[in-house]
Every structure is written in structure tokens, then in C-alpha cells.
Amino acid sequence: MEPREFPQIEQQLAPVFERHGREANQLLQILREVQEIFHFIPPAAITCIAAHLGVPRTRVEGVAGFYSFLSLKPVGEYRILFSDNITDQMQGNPELMRYFCHKLWLEPGKVSEDSLLSVDSTSCTGMCDQGPAALVNGWPLTNLDHERLDLIAELIRGRKPVCDWPPRLFEVKDNIRRSGTLLGEPFAPGAAIKATLARGSAATLLEMEASGLRGRGGAGFSVARKWSMCRASPGEQHYMVCNADEGEPGTFKDRVLLNSYADLVCEGMTVGARIIGATKGFLYLRGEYRYLLNKLEQVLARRRAAGLLGRNILGETGFDFDIEIHLGAGAYICGEESALIESLEGKRGRPRNRPPFPVTHGYLDQPTVVDNVETLACAARIAAQGGEWFAAMGTAQSSGSKILSIAGDCARPGIYEYPFGVTLHEILDDCGAEDSYAVQVSGPSGILVSSKEFGRCISFEDLPTAGAFTVFKRGRDLLQIVQNFAHFFAHESCGFCTPCRVGTQLQKKIVDKIANDHGTVSDLEELKQLGHIMQTMSHCGLGHTAPNPVLDMLKKFPDAYQHKLKDLAFEPAFDLDGALETARNITGRDDTWAHLP
């Protein structure tokens, strides 16, 4: 492609700078807009942004190179990213992508000659209950099939702006199949704040304590403890952050909470802010959910108008709190709380060294609480209705309910709310899953559960989960599933630490080798050793959990790979004959000596 010149770059960027100001924290938000304007981040823009923000060029290039949705090389005016989550894959996305590329004479990963279009894949877009899914210039396409792709091809050929495409292409349903107290009961905006003000912060913290609420984002840390630690930490400012990164493949419950229960979530943040003493909050919205941005902004505006956000909330002098939405740009690691904070600061999403923890040194080094969307929704309910009511649900160590995002081989994929303690049998019955073989609980970083274990229950004591519940029926190729997960981790490793940066790649290579019928018993040993290194030497949770699917398969599903293994003790690490292909093409040879068995 011709190198393009950008003589007018400063004028072109002026309105973007105008919107975002000169704080380096705004870097990622600025880069998102630059990507939209130019369909990549031109070197000239990097120089210009660096000068505008007064940061080194390397800082801008570093961020531009980190996030999947930003690119340092041009992509198409229309950029279509097919979701490559395992459920999208089972629903036929690989075939659909080939179909689409074939139709438009395009190769995945390449840009069309006229710069009009590029097609690629992306990590789970959170539409598992209505896939196959994709993103076009960041907007979600659901329920893809040939008919829809034909239409999309027409629209692109006709250069119709994405905002004028038929709305049915972008329809996203909530698919709430089962609601409990969190999703089912009415909630009057303001109720939780009123109750908090009436009761006082300390007393509300006691209610949180009594509720036994634990974080819903995965780690299950006590909310009362986190909030009181932050409350007790000295700082110039305290911050309340809502983690809406929802990057774990197979998880989509936060999408639904933000779409239909945003008041509950904002209210949870506001209550938390009151308790920890924050005046500023952030909602970190994953880039894949930017379609929710306008709606969420409207909710915030409505709440400001109703006196539920802004200065002197509900007339309480000095109770000031407002929420700013920050968009991510395609990076699973930014769900990890300290990476999320880095990203909020406009940096690469690289997990910090801990200690110190965010509750004492978070956003801009100030005391910060990061909580999951669902956690905050629960907190709002507890603030309004008290802790005991909440603690009455669930099990001893897991009070309340849990929202599951159910997808895969079942008749009724969607959102299910259960009290903790529900068994997998019950869930599978409810969602219409028949002849189930395995369930991936909590996504690739979670636990692969075999049918023998379907009597186990969802709870912190037994099967903790951040919400994903992906069902596989008998006959599914489990090795292919694990391969998908291995690719996911290799793609999403942030690259900071050796064991994960290199280990996830090596793991991917070996799983591929086995899937391609070249694996041996020694490769299984290799996988175990790699798993051990990643689990014990990595810097953060991504590396610690990256080997989980592989190790679970090795332990519980020998049938998935045994038949694939060669009888030999050893097989070459690479495809010998394939490695001769280039030379065969160059020399035009095809004799026996130009091949290897």
C-alpha cells in the first residue's frame, strides 16, 4: 500500500483534542477516535498526539500497538471482525467468514485493494446467545447467516454508511430466561441512595457485611472488606470504578445488566462512592459494547436531572458524585483490575505489581474500588433492602444469587438467575440441554466440568464462576474446544511476563500439533510442564489460568485426545514436508527427494 501523507493532520485532529483535552489519561479515548477517522493510527497522528499531550512518542505508539481495535497499519473503511468464541465457532462462524471473504474476493487479515474492506476474527464479542456474531466498525452484528452476509456485502459494495444499515442486523436481545430477586423485582431509582443516606454510611457498610456479598467478577472478594479498606485509605481523592470489561469468552450477563438495569448498576456505584468517599466514578465499558454507550449516557443524564448524580445528590449537601464512561479497545487483560486502571489512565493494559493494591493505590495512585457490574447491582439491592434479606439466599459462603450466561448446546441460551447452590443438572434441565458431555464453567479461565460432575453446584465453595456457562453435547470435539481456548490466551496475553508471553504460545503450538494428528505422549508431558510454569511463575491471573482448559482435558477427558496421538514416542515439532513447500515452489521440483513423509 502507498504510504499516505497527512498534511492536514493537525486540523483533522483538532476537534478530537477539543473533546478530550490535554490530559494524558485521555490517550486511549483519543486513539479510538483517530482509528475511526483514518482506519488506522498513522505515524503522523502519533507524533501529533504526543506533542498535544506532552508525552513521549513511544508512549502513544505503545498504547496504539496494544489494543486489538487500534491498528498501526491501515484496515478497511469497513472492518468486519467475526467473533471467534467457541460458541460462534460451533454456530458456524468459520464457514461464514470463508463464505463472506470468498464472495468479496478477500483474504482474512488483508485489506481489499480499494481499501474498502478488511475481514478478520476477534475474541468473543459477548453475543454467544445470539451468534454467530461479528462487529462492523465496532457495531455488533448478530444471528449471522448467508442471507445476512449477502445483504452486508451489498451494503458495503454500495458504500452505505453503517449507521444507515437496516436495524435488524444489529438487534441485540436480552434473552432473560429466568429471573430471581436481582433481575425480577422492581427497583425505583434512588431507593438505594435514599436508604443509604437515611441509615448512614457506616451502617450501610454493616449491611454489606451482613449480606455476605462477594465480588461477582471472579475472585469473590468480600465487598464490605474492599469498601472499608478503601474508605480507610488516606488519599486526595477516592475513585469508584465499575468493571464492565466482560471479556471472559462466553460471558454476557453484564451486557444485559447494562442494557436493562443500568440504574441499578449506577446506583450501586453511587452507594459505594458515598461509603468510600469518592466523588468521581468510571464505568469501563469494553469496546465491544460501545453500542451501549449512547444509551448509558442517557441514563447518566437522566439520573443527573433527577438529582441522583452530580452535586448534592438527593439534596445532601456535599454528596457529590459523577460517572464517566471510558471505552476499552479490545483487550481481555483490561478486565484485570490493575490493568483496567492502567487503561483508564490511558496506558497499555499491563497488570501492575502488587502490593500496593488498588484500594490504597489505584487510579492516579489514589484509593480505588473496582467492582464488577453485577456486584454493584447486588450492592444497590442490599443498600435498599438490607443485608439479611440477601444473606438468606444461597449457601453458607455464597449468599445471594448468581446470573449465568448460558450458551452452547442448549435449546434456550440466555440469561438465568439462580440462588447460589444450584446444581449443574438443574441448570442443564432448565436451559434445554440434552445429552450434555461437558460444561465450561466461568469461561476458558474457569473449570471444564465433565458429565460425571453435573451434581456439583454453582458456589464459591464448589464451582465459583464469573458467569459463563457454556454447554457441550456429546459428540463435540473437546480437543477443538480446548484448542480454541489455547488460541484465545495466546492472543490475549499482554506480553509483560516471560512465562505467559512465551508459555501461551508454546501451549498453543503443542495443542495444534496434537489436533493436527502429530502429537505423542511426550507432548502431553510438555503440556503439563508448561502448565506448571504458567500457573506458578506468571505475573497475573491470565497466566495463572491460561493452562486450565488443557490441564482439565488431560485430567478428565482422555478420550478427547488419546486417539489423536501417534504411537511413536516422538514426532517432529513442525511439519517436515510443509517446511519444504517454499523450496518446492521456487525450484518447481516435485520428485521423491523433494518430499518427506
Binding site: 517432529p572 519444504l580 517454499t582 523450496a583 521456487i586 525450484t587 523433494a594
Partner: protein, 181 residues
């Protein structure tokens, strides 16, 4: 005690420079001691063309072309213990410097450009070993039992390693014997 059966040893050089072999010869008068303990099968020192059943096979050089694979597999098949010796066998070594260069560019440079060989034509003779797109270490093609790094390993190192191996000890290198250059 009965006369001990001599250990049968084969060596070869794949994509290497014979430096490791030269270093082996550098053990000088100890060669006689060595010959008391071993007998050679296929090596560049003998004229045996194919490797027969052996106790120890020593491979120098990386795997750069199809012929290397045939030789290497023959060694693996016939040798009870396979040793990769030298940087090239263990990491690809200096020949692997070409791994950053596109194979097509290599061919063009060698055969097509001004001053190239063969009358400006890329040869397609089946007699010529067909190169891989990259040079690979030996252990990525066959299972390797022992590694003896160095470029080349010094004569003393080779001697220490071989005597350990022949006398049935787990080979162990002192700090100053373990070198990658």
C-alpha cells in the same frame, strides 16, 4: 574380567562446519585412548556411508534440508543414544542466521543475480538436497538424549563428556566447560 565390548560410535555433520569434528580430533593423543574404548561406524573419518546399529550417535549441525532429515532419522533409528553436539545442532547456530531471510531472496541472491551461480537459473536437480524454509535444531526433528553445547565445545569438554558417557556416568560439565560459543 572379559575383554569389554567396544562401544560403537557414529558421527555426522548436517548443516554445520565440521568444527565440532575438528574439536574432537583436537583431543590429540587421547584419541588413542578413545580408540581403545570405541570403534567407529559411519563418520567422516571412516568411509562407511550408512549408519548401522550403534551405541552412540553424535550429530553436528542443524537441519537445513531434506537430506539432513534422512541422515538424522537413520542415526536416530540405529543409535541407542543420540547426542546433539555444538551450537548448530542445538539451536540452528550460525546457519540459522538465514532464518530471518526469505528463502526466495536467498535463491535469487545465489542463482539469479549478477555474479550468481549456474547461469542465472534456479536448479531443479533431484540430486540437490532441497532446503527447508528455515534451519532447525536437531531436537525439533528427532528425540535427542544428550546435548553438548559449544561452538565448538573444546576438546577437553568433548573428552570429559565422552568418557562420562562411555563409562556409564551421567555426563556432567563443569562451569567453564558449559559454553554456547
Amino acid at each position: 574380567m572379559n575383554e569389554k565390548r567396544k562401544i560403537r560410535l557414529a558421527t555426522c555433520s548436517l548443516a554445520g562446519c565440521f568444527g565440532c569434528h575438528m574439536s574432537l580430533l583436537d583431543i590429540d593423543e587421547k584419541l588413542f585412548d578413545l580408540l581403545g574404548m570405541i570403534e567407529f561406524d559411519r563418520t567422516p573419518f571412516t568411509d562407511i556411508k550408512h549408519c548401522g546399529p550403534c551405541d552412540i550417535g553424535i550429530v553436528e549441525g542443524g537441519v537445513s534440508n531434506a537430506e539432513n532429515v534422512h541422515v538424522l532419522k537413520e542415526f536416530r533409528k540405529h543409535c541407542k543414544v543420540l547426542v546433539a553436539i555444538g551450537a548448530c545442532a542445538i539451536t540452528g547456530g550460525v546457519p540459522a542466521l538465514r532464518n530471518n531471510i526469505d528463502l526466495w531472496d536467498c535463491f535469487q541472491e545465489v542463482y539469479l543475480y549478477e555474479g550468481g551461480l549456474e547461469g542465472n537459473q534456479i536448479p531443479n536437480d533431484p540430486e540437490l538436497p532441497l532446503p527447508f524454509d528455515k534451519v532447525y535444531p536437531v531436537y525439533e526433528v528427532v528425540k535427542v538424549d544428550y546435548f553438548l553445547p559449544g561452538c565448538p565445545p573444546s576438546a577437553d569438554t568433548i573428552w570429559k563428556f565422552l568418557t562420562d558417557l562411555i563409562e556409564g556416568r551421567e555426563p556432567k560439565l563443569d562451569y567453564e566447560m558449559l559454553r554456547y560459543d
